[in-house]
């Protein structure tokens, strides 16, 4: 069935737009399209959205991609298989014939023959434009124009200029469709390994998606209530039930189970000047955590410490981060003071099921680090995890108190790229096992 070819290419384009499509799903989509047919564009779009997209965002992306793609393709009239007549006779006729649909069809076919779906880079535009025009037989037409000097030649010259523009446009649209897959993947890969302090503002949107994915991974694990068997306590009802077959003689015993409560998380986030470059990102992570974890309290500190749970909960991400930064950010940090603030106001939050997560560089501008407070927090809490945006070999240099705090952290990691963060989250999950 040759109608599946445009669909298959559409899947490739959709993948580029960020919609994950597995082979099984593409088979499913083909069955669905079989059921509804190609005739109604809107129905076709709805159908693909229903089968392929799994979130509202994906639906949106898919719909956009659909419009972009099928403005080009004419699925109910698949392009002719044989490439246009290279002699140029056909092309001249086409151009003078004034039938844009026929020209478009010839262009499709030529694009196919020139391997247009393989286009990957911006720089290949001219190459592919030239190739398509060659396949369509432009050289012959140009030669014909050179030989004659009449009105028809004039007409042809104009038509050729028009064709050039059309083909170029066509190639550019294809580039958007087919090259996006590669470039997106490449960009994401780059983002993951770039130092957080070097990231551009324009990358924030994409970062947010990645950060959210990481936070969600953490949350999925935490949110699941886990059960543990209580040794020595028989669950009478279920034991009798289980042993009914043996007239109630308890061959198999069932023990009572205890549900383990969901752990609490307390996050302290440094937003001082020394981490200004990454604090945006740290807050982004904090915001994402707030979105996905139910029982979380968030604090931001520089010279002193404030609770920011409310702000993060009630505002969208951009204004929330801006508000936190204006309220407390950019000052010089004082870890001792901030820890003291925390102990004074919120130490009661911490019990043996609390995980304390500290995001910061431990540079207190030579103020008293008040290590003993962290020690007290550490003894009360289930664990203290410290993520430091600096490289490990910068720890302890200058005013960094990292190594003084280190003994009281159950986990201490550098966290300067997204990849680090991903690794840390995975390790955290390992620890909770």
């Amino acid at each position: 069935m040759n109608a599946t070819e445009p669909l298959r290419r559409f899947f490739a384009a959709a993948r580029g737009a960020g919609v994950r499509i597995s082979p099984a799903e593409s088979i499913e989509a083909m069955r669905a399209v079989d059921a509804v047919g190609f005739a109604d564009r809107a129905v076709l779009r709805d159908t693909l959205g229903l089968v392929l997209a799994k979130t509202v965002e994906e639906k949106q992306a898919l719909a956009e991609c659909f419009d972009l793609y099928f403005r080009r393709e004419t699925p109910d009239a698949p392009p002719a298989d044989e490439p246009a007549d290279p002699s140029g006779e056909g092309l001249a006729g086409l151009l003078l014939g004034g039938d844009p649909a026929a020209v478009a069809q010839a262009m499709e076919a030529a694009g196919e023959a020139a391997g247009l779906p393989n286009i990957r880079f911006f720089t290949q535009r001219n190459l592919y434009t030239r190739r398509i025009l060659d396949v369509m037989g432009l050289r012959a037409v140009e030669a014909a124009i050179g030989e004659r000097e009449d009105a028809e030649a004039q007409l042809l010259t104009e038509a050729v200029a028009g064709l050039r523009a059309t083909v170029r446009d066509f190639v550019e649209r294809s580039l958007v469709l087919f090259a996006r897959e590669e470039t997106e993947a490449f960009r994401e890969e780059l983002l993951r390994s770039t130092r957080l302090s070097n990231l551009d503002r324009r990358d924030y949107d994409r970062m947010r998606v990645l950060v959210r994915a990481i936070a969600r991974k953490l949350a999925a694990r935490y949110a699941r209530p886990r059960r543990r068997r209580l040794r020595g306590q028989l669950d009478l009802r279920r034991t009798i039930r289980r042993n009914m077959g043996w007239s109630g003689i308890p061959f198999v015993t069932v023990w009572k189970e205890k549900r383990i409560e969901k752990p609490r998380v307390v996050v302290l986030c440094d937003v001082s000047g020394s981490v200004a470059a990454v604090s945006q990102f740290l807050l982004m992570f904090l915001y994402a955590l707030n979105e996905v974890l139910a029982d979380i309290r968030s604090f931001a500190f520089a010279g002193s410490l404030i609770e920011v749970s409310e702000i993060l909960e009630h505002q969208p991400i951009e204004p929330a981060i801006a508000e936190i930064m204006t309220r407390i950010g950019f000052g010089s940090s004082n870890y001792g003071n901030s820890l003291a603030d925390f102990e004074e106001g919120w130490i009661g939050l911490i019990d043996r099921r609390t995980t304390v997560l500290i995001l910061g560089d431990a540079r207190g501008n030579r103020t008293d680090p008040r290590v003993e407070i962290l020690e007290r927090i550490s003894t009360r809490a289930k664990r203290v995890v410290w993520l430091n945006p600096e490289y490990r070999n910068a720890w302890g240099t200058g005013d960094s108190d990292m190594f003084r705090y280190a003994p009281h952290c159950q986990m201490l990691r550098p966290c300067s790229t997204l990849r680090d963060l991903e690794r840390v989250v995975t390790d955290l999950l390992e620890m909770t096992r």
């Binding site: 499913e28 069955r31 809107a42 709805d46 999925a220």
Partner: protein
């Protein structure tokens, strides 16, 4: 493929998307084109539909209307945290099983009494079927009932996002193959695969495995034309002029920055209230008095209250 489009489906009435539109409309549910397409595909591909969207846009209503239209029984399973197999799939009739053992003890002497040796008695015992874990003692819960319904059924798994992840995983077998496995009895497959509708309010992200097995339908707020048709179908007493005005008003209300924008169900309620109050046309006074039908948060009522005059004037055209 584990499932197939050739399976007998409960109805041949789902012949085309238009047929679905008309059928649902005849039961008072005015579907958008997208919803109709989803129902049609669900029938043709024998796949469940996962419906997401804000509260009150008619997710549950959709399942009810499909059941009414196809005259199939609606089997509803409300999900909640801690829902488990025993409540969703089946349970053994514990009391009956107990009685059975008592009877067995009384009768066993009679049945085996004349056996010459232990071997002969055992042999005779094997002759009886294993009744203890048989279908007689099985108490079917919603999921099993939906599979066993001889003429097919509409299974509504409501608010699946409220159930635990384990339960979600447990649903997978039913959703993809329309069968369940009961350890003591073996596999039970559906005679007629039910139409399965799952709804979710996005309390948590559902697993990919679940989403992959379903058609994903997102019902948003309807556009003005569709909403007017819905009101016309649900509250026929409201005349066309009032209908147009109130729908325009609600539509512009959704454009405001509200905590909980009014949904279709609120529009319907409001239309009923206006009809009861014999309102011929919207007035700022009427709107102010009845705004609490549309908006459920004090903050929202305040926000909307400030622009009430302007909104009403615009709605009146």
């Amino acid at each position: 493929m584990p499932y197939s489009a050739d399976l007998p489906r409960p109805s041949a009435r789902v012949a085309s998307i238009e047929a679905v539109e008309q059928g649902l409309a005849s039961c008072g549910y005015i579907p958008s084109r997208q919803i109709a397409t989803a129902v049609y595909l669900a029938e043709r591909l024998a796949k469940p539909v996962l419906v997401e969207g804000p509260a009150g846009v008619g997710k549950t209503e959709l399942a009810k209307s499909i059941a009414a239209w196809l005259s199939l029984p609606l089997i509803r399973m409300q999900c909640y945290e801690g829902l488990d197999e025993a409540k969703a799939l089946y349970e053994w009739k514990y009391g009956k099983q107990l009685l059975y053992t008592q009877i067995l003890r009384d009768k066993i002497g009679e049945v085996l009494g004349d056996a010459a040796s232990l071997d002969a008695a055992l042999h005779r015992l094997h002759g009886f079927g294993d009744l203890f874990f048989s279908a007689d003692f099985l108490e079917p819960r919603p999921l099993l009932r939906a599979l066993q319904e001889p003429g097919g059924a509409v299974l509504l798994v409501d608010e699946v996002d409220k159930s635990d992840q384990e339960f979600e995983a447990f649903l997978l077998e039913i959703l993809s193959d329309y069968q369940v496995t009961i350890p003591e009895l073996g596999r039970i497959a559906a005679t007629v695969p039910p139409v399965v509708i799952l709804t979710s309010n996005s309390m948590r992200d559902l697993g990919d495995a679940l989403k992959r097995r379903c058609l994903h339908l997102h019902i948003g707020f309807p556009d003005a034309a569709l909403e007017e048709r819905i009101i016309a179908s649900r509250v026929p007493e409201a005349d066309a002029a009032l209908r147009g005005q109130l729908v325009r008003f609600v539509q512009s209300l959704r454009g405001l920055d509200l905590k909980k924008p009014p949904s279709v169900s609120e529009t319907i309620d409001w239309a009923r209230v206006l009809v009861l109050l014999h309102a011929g046309a919207l007035s700022a006074e009427f709107v102010r008095e009845t705004l609490n039908v549309l908006l459920k948060f004090e903050v929202d009522i305040e926000t909307a209250g400030r622009q009430l005059g302007e909104l009403t004037a615009r709605a009146r055209g």
